[in-house]
C-alpha cells in the first residue's frame, strides 16, 4: 500500500502544514476554545434562580417554608418585597426570574388543620429556566408539605413518620449529578472531528487548484488514489491528535469520565472520520477556491450541528426533522461517543450506529473518489 510516491505526498503535506503556523495554531486552539465555550456556557444546569418573595404572613411557618426553598440551591431569595406590584416589577425587569407569594393567613392555616395555598410565579420567556424552576418549586413544596403532614400526625399522637402509599425511588445512571459537561464534551469532540477533517481536506485539495500546483501534479505519474490518500492522511493524524486533546481537556477541566476503551473510541472515531474526509473531498471536487470549499463544507455543517442531537434533543423535534437526522453521520457518532465516554459500553451495544457510520463513510468516500479527477478540466 505505502509506496514512495505516497510517502512523498504525505511528507510534502506535512511540511506545508508545518510552515503555515497560523493554521496550525487554529487547528489546536479552536478545539480548546470550543470546549471551554460549550463546557461553561452551554450548560443547562439551573442553579440560583433569583427569586422575589412577597411574604404577607411573616410568621414562623412561613419562615420554615422559605428555609426549605433556601436549602435547595435551585433558588436564591434575592428580593423581599412588600406588594404584588413590586414583585411584578422585578419579574418584568428580569431581575427576578420567579416570585413566591405567601398569603397573610399562612401560619394560621398551617398550625391549625387547614390547607394553605401559596402562589409561585414564573418568567416563562426562557423555557429552559422556567421548566426546571417549575419542577424544582413544586418538588420543594411537596417535600415541605409531607414534613408538615407528619408533624401534624405526631401532634395527634400517631407515629411521626408516615408511610406514603407510593414512593418513587429515582436512580440516575451514568451521570447521577446530571452534569451537562458530560453531555457537551463528547459533542464537542464529534463536531471538531467533523469540522476539521472536512474543512482541512477540502481546502488542502482546492489549494492545489487555486495556486496552480495541481497542473504540475497532474503531469506526474501520481495516481488519483495516491493523491487522495496522501492528502487525507496528514489530516487524519491531526484529527486524532485533536480527539486526544479534547478528551484530555474534558477530563481535566470538566472531569468528564472516559469509561469505554480508548482503543475502541479511537477506532470508531476513525470510522466517523471517513464521513468528514469524504465530505471534504466531495466539496473539493465542486469548489474552485478555498473560500468556496469552506462555504460548501459549512452548508453541511449547520444541519449536522442542529439536527444531530448535539445541542437539541432529537426526540423534541418535529417528525420531518427527525427523519432528516437519519442521513446525518454526526448523529450516529454522537450516540457512539457519548455512550463510550459516559456509559462505558462496548461495541455490541452500538451495532446499529456503527453499521450506519460505516455505510455513510464508505458511501461518501466512494462518491468522492468517483468525482475526484486528477485533471484540469
Amino acid at each position: 500500500m505505502i509506496n514512495n510516491r505516497l510517502l512523498s505526498i504525505i511528507r510534502k503535506e506535512f511540511i506545508q502544514i508545518w510552515r503555515d503556523p497560523r493554521t496550525l495554531v487554529l487547528v489546536f486552539a479552536i478545539p480548546v476554545m470550543q470546549l471551554l465555550l460549550m463546557g461553561y456556557s452551554a450548560t443547562t444546569d439551573i442553579r440560583n434562580v433569583p427569586l422575589a418573595v412577597f411574604d404577607q404572613d411573616r410568621g414562623s411557618a412561613a419562615r420554615e417554608l422559605l428555609d426549605a426553598y433556601r436549602a435547595a440551591d435551585y433558588f436564591l431569595i434575592a428580593y423581599d418585597v412588600d406588594s404584588e406590584d413590586e414583585l411584578r416589577a422585578l419579574v418584568d425587569s428580569g431581575d427576578a426570574k420567579a416570585g413566591l407569594i405567601i398569603p397573610p393567613d399562612y401560619s394560621v392555616l398551617i398550625k391549625g388543620e387547614g390547607s394553605a395555598q401559596i402562589a409561585f410565579v414564573l418568567d416563562g420567556s426562557d423555557p429552559t429556566v422556567a421548566s426546571t424552576s417549575l419542577s424544582a418549586a413544586q418538588f420543594i413544596a411537596q417535600e415541605h408539605a409531607t414534613k408538615l403532614m407528619s408533624n401534624r400526625l405526631s401532634r395527634l399522637g400517631q407515629p411521626a413518620s408516615v408511610e406514603m402509599p407510593l414512593e418513587v425511588r429515582t436512580q440516575v445512571w451514568y451521570n447521577p449529578d446530571m452534569i451537562s459537561a458530560y453531555f457537551m464534551v463528547p459533542g464537542v469532540i464529534a463536531t471538531i472531528l467533523y469540522t476539521l477533517t472536512s474543512i482541512l481536506t477540502a481546502t488542502a485539495v482546492v489549494r492545489e487548484r487555486e495556486r496552480g500546483t495541481i497542473e504540475q501534479l497532474i503531469v506526474t505519474p501520481i495516481r488519483s488514489w495516491e493523491l487522495m490518500v496522501g492528502k487525507m492522511l496528514p489530516y487524519v493524524l491531526l484529527a486524532v491528535m485533536n480527539t486526544l486533546e479534547v478528551l484530555a481537556l474534558g477530563s481535566w477541566l470538566f472531569n468528564v469520565p472516559i469509561r469505554g476503551e480508548l482503543g475502541l473510541i479511537l477506532l470508531l472515531s476513525g470510522l466517523f472520520l471517513l464521513s468528514g474526509l469524504g465530505i471534504g473531498l466531495l466539496a473539493s471536487t465542486i469548489a474552485n477556491t478555498q473560500q468556496e470549499a469552506m462555504l460548501t463544507v459549512w452548508m453541511t455543517l449547520l444541519p449536522s450541528i442542529f439536527l444531530s442531537g448535539f445541542l437539541f434533543p432529537l426526540q423534541a423535534m418535529p417528525k420531518v426533522l427527525q427523519l432528516i437526522s437519519y442521513v446525518i453521520p454526526l448523529r450516529y457518532y454522537l450516540v457512539i461517543i457519548r455512550s463510550l465516554l459516559i456509559k462505558g459500553v462496548g461495541a455490541s451495544a452500538l451495532q446499529d450506529e456503527i453499521l450506519a457510520l460505516a455505510l455513510f463513510g464508505i458511501g461518501i468516500m466512494t462518491l468522492a473518489a468517483m468525482r475526484f479527477r486528477k485533471r484540469l478540466d
Binding site: 512523498s8 504540475q216 501534479l217
Partner: protein
C-alpha cells in the same frame, strides 16, 4: 531520429468554443518545436493536451512511443512540463520541491539528492537550495520550474511561454540550457510570443483558431515572403510612413523600432524602391536606408494573420 512527441488530430472544445481543432505535429529527439500565434490561438490548451493535464475530445498523443491515453503512467514518466503559471510549492524550499518532484516521478531511492545538486548547478540556483520557493524572484522561479521539470531526466520537455516576464540575461541563460538539452537528445516543445526565440528553433508552427496554419523550419517559412520585404529608415517618421502606405504596391507597413518593413506585392520591390526614393526626396525626407531585406518570421506571421482575419 526517433519521434518523441507525436500528436494526431487533437481536438478540444470548451462548450461552444473550439480551443484546439485537429492539431497534428511531431517532434523528434534533439529537435525543438516552437508554437507561436496570437493570444487565444490555443497554444496553452495544445500543450496541456500533449502533457495530459487535459483530456482531448478526439485524437491521440504518443510520447516516446507510449499512448498517453492508454499507457498514461509510462507516457507521463517521459515528460518534463513547465506551465505558464508558477506551479511549485511556495512553502517548500528549492531543494524540497526538487525532491518531491523527483520522488513522485519515480527517481529511485536516494538519487534525488545528487540529482538535485546537479540540476541546481545546471540552472544556476545552487546558492538558493534552501530558500523557500515563494521567496525567489520571477526569473529564479522560472529556473526552479525548469529544474523541477528536468529533475527526473525526461526525454520530452514541454514549455509554455517560459521566458515571459523574465529579464534579458535570464532569457539568454534559459536558451543556453535548452540548447544543451537538445544536444543530449531531448525533444522540446515550446510556446513563445517572441519571434527571435522562434527563429532559433528547428521547427516553427503558427497556430491560429486551434490549428496549425503553417509549419516548418524557420528558414522555409520565411521563404513565403522572399523578395517581398523592403526595409526603410528615415524621418520624419510619420511622413515617411504615410508616403510608404500610399504606394499602390505596398501591402502593409510595420514598425520595428526605428526601422520600417514594407511588404510589397511579389516582384515589385525594385519598382517600389525607385518610386519611394523619388517621392520621399521630393518631400525632403532624409533616407538612411531603403533596400530589400530577407523577411523575418514576424513579417510572415503578420501576413498570415491578415489573411486569416
Amino acid at each position: 531520429m526517433e519521434t518523441l512527441i507525436e500528436a494526431r488530430n487533437l481536438r478540444k472544445t470548451f462548450g461552444d468554443n473550439v480551443a484546439v481543432d485537429g492539431l497534428s505535429l511531431s517532434v523528434s529527439e534533439g529537435e525543438i518545436f516552437a508554437l507561436v500565434g496570437p493570444d487565444g490561438a490555443g497554444k496553452t490548451t495544445a500543450i496541456r493536451l500533449l502533457c495530459g493535464a487535459m483530456l482531448a475530445d478526439e485524437g491521440h498523443v504518443f510520447l516516446a512511443g507510449f499512448d498517453l491515453h492508454k499507457q498514461t503512467e509510462q507516457a507521463k514518466a517521459q515528460i518534463g512540463y513547465l506551465p505558464q503559471r508558477f506551479s511549485l510549492y511556495g512553502e517548500l524550499t528549492v531543494v524540497e520541491n526538487l525532491r518531491f518532484f523527483a520522488e513522485v516521478r519515480g527517481l529511485p531511492g536516494k538519487d534525488w539528492l545528487p540529482r538535485s545538486q546537479e540540476i541546481l548547478e545546471f540552472v544556476g540556483l545552487e546558492e538558493f537550495a534552501n530558500r523557500r520557493a515563494d521567496k525567489l524572484s520571477g526569473g529564479m522561479k522560472q529556473k526552479l520550474g525548469l529544474a523541477a521539470a528536468l529533475v527526473h531526466r525526461p526525454q520530452i520537455l514541454l514549455l509554455d511561454e517560459p521566458t515571459v516576464g523574465v529579464d534579458a540575461a535570464t532569457r539568454q541563460a534559459f536558451w543556453r540550457l535548452i540548447i544543451s538539452l537538445l544536444v543530449q537528445g531531448v525533444a522540446v516543445l515550446i510556446s513563445t510570443p517572441y519571434m527571435d526565440e522562434a527563429s532559433r528553433c528547428s521547427q516553427v508552427g503558427f497556430m491560429y483558431g486551434g490549428r496549425l496554419l503553417v509549419e516548418g523550419p524557420p528558414g522555409e517559412i520565411v521563404r513565403r515572403l522572399e523578395g517581398r520585404v523592403v526595409e526603410l529608415v528615415g524621418g520624419p517618421r510619420r511622413l515617411v510612413e504615410s508616403l510608404a502606405r500610399s504606394d499602390p504596391q505596398v501591402e502593409d507597413v510595420q514598425m520595428f523600432g526605428d526601422r520600417m518593413h514594407l511588404r510589397v506585392i511579389a516582384g515589385s520591390s525594385r519598382r517600389v524602391i525607385n518610386r519611394l526614393k523619388a517621392s520621399l526626396q521630393k518631400e525632403g525626407v532624409v533616407i538612411d536606408r531603403l533596400k530589400p531585406v530577407a523577411p523575418g518570421l514576424e513579417d510572415v506571421f503578420i501576413e498570415l494573420l491578415e489573411i486569416v482575419e
